[in-house]
Symmetry: C2
Subunit: 199 residues, 2 copies
């Protein structure tokens, strides 16, 4: 890992654990094991560091989504695994995403970057999941009158909010709790709750 990547990793670590306010140039340099001046050999300014963290240091939810293949595996199982992954992903990335709201300048810069990158490239998680559900629908594994976009929004939205609440309250996400949550959410969205519904 080069110096540049060490700096970005340190910045991401601090933002996750201490919050944006503590992610000062001095703290980042110390955590990365370099001097403050070194930051400026690799980045224009502090804003660029944060934008790079957002671009390069967030784990990939889209990666899992593009692996979803209609018709393969168990639909319910696929969706439950997706919810578990999504909650973990959101819980991980939330403290960093939230810091974008710390400054209007950061927010504006990040919006512009997303616009430029998002033009013809990867689509949003919502669109990817809706696409998958639509394909399953065409295969007859999802009710014909269902609304794939609404289903995607409900599942990802609930994952997002549950991750937010967990991060907020500081309680760790247990594997069991996550599995229960995933089963209940997927069961409700697919329309038929299995008979052994848990708490």
């Amino acid at each position: 890992m080069g110096t540049r990547e060490e700096i970005l990793a340190a910045a991401a670590r601090i933002m996750r654990t201490e919050g944006y306010a503590r992610a000062t140039t001095k703290e980042i340099a110390r955590a990365a094991g370099y001097s403050e001046a070194a930051l400026y050999k690799h980045f224009e300014d502090k804003t660029e560091i944060f934008l790079r963290v957002l671009d390069e240091q967030l784990p990939g939810l889209p990666a899992l989504l593009t692996r979803l293949e209609a018709g393969s595996g168990d639909l319910r199982g696929n969706l439950e695994e997706l919810v578990v992954t999504a909650v973990r992903f959101y819980a991980d990335s939330f403290p960093i995403s939230a810091s974008v709201f710390s400054s209007q300048r950061l927010l504006a810069a990040h919006r512009e970057r997303l616009h430029r990158l998002g033009g013809g490239g990867p689509r949003t998680p919502e669109e990817l999941l809706a696409g998958y559900l639509g394909a399953e629908q065409r295969l007859g594994r999802v009710a014909a009158d269902a609304d794939p976009t609404a289903m995607a929004r409900l599942l990802l939205g609930a994952s997002f909010q549950q991750a937010f609440l967990a991060t907020f309250s500081g309680e760790p996400l247990s594997a069991d709790g996550l599995a229960d949550l995933a089963r209940d959410l997927v069961g409700t969205v697919l329309g038929a709750t299995p008979s052994d519904g848990g708490g």
Copy 2:
């Protein structure tokens, strides 16, 4: 409006529009029309100002939720109105809630406050909505095998995330778009999509 309330309103305004990073004591004082020293006549320190903003300056989603009465009105209509209100509420409060993540100190202080206030008092939106749905279920207006908690999490979660995405992208929430969203989400959660399903 007393000085104290003017200060809180100014702080909330700045956090909403400029972000936490710009919400300095100097800026708050200037926006409120007082000197910096005046802030410290009314508040212990800056942290207290932000905690009070969170307590007193956020609009009330719980208020709408407690007005929901099982058996009255149209179930679908009630839920759609709730979704519209929830998206607006979350979009309003997001920039302020997000700033809690700016500092571990703020986050810890806010957690403790929530714990103390939440001990025997008002419950969370999720619990209130699940309670309402359970009551409707007992009245036969919601399918007997449905999971009220999962339904509440899906509806509020999707509202939360859609509000986040709108705030993030900077696009305003149109009344029509919100109504469509609410109809699709509620229709999917209740299990039967109306025949005239829109885009």
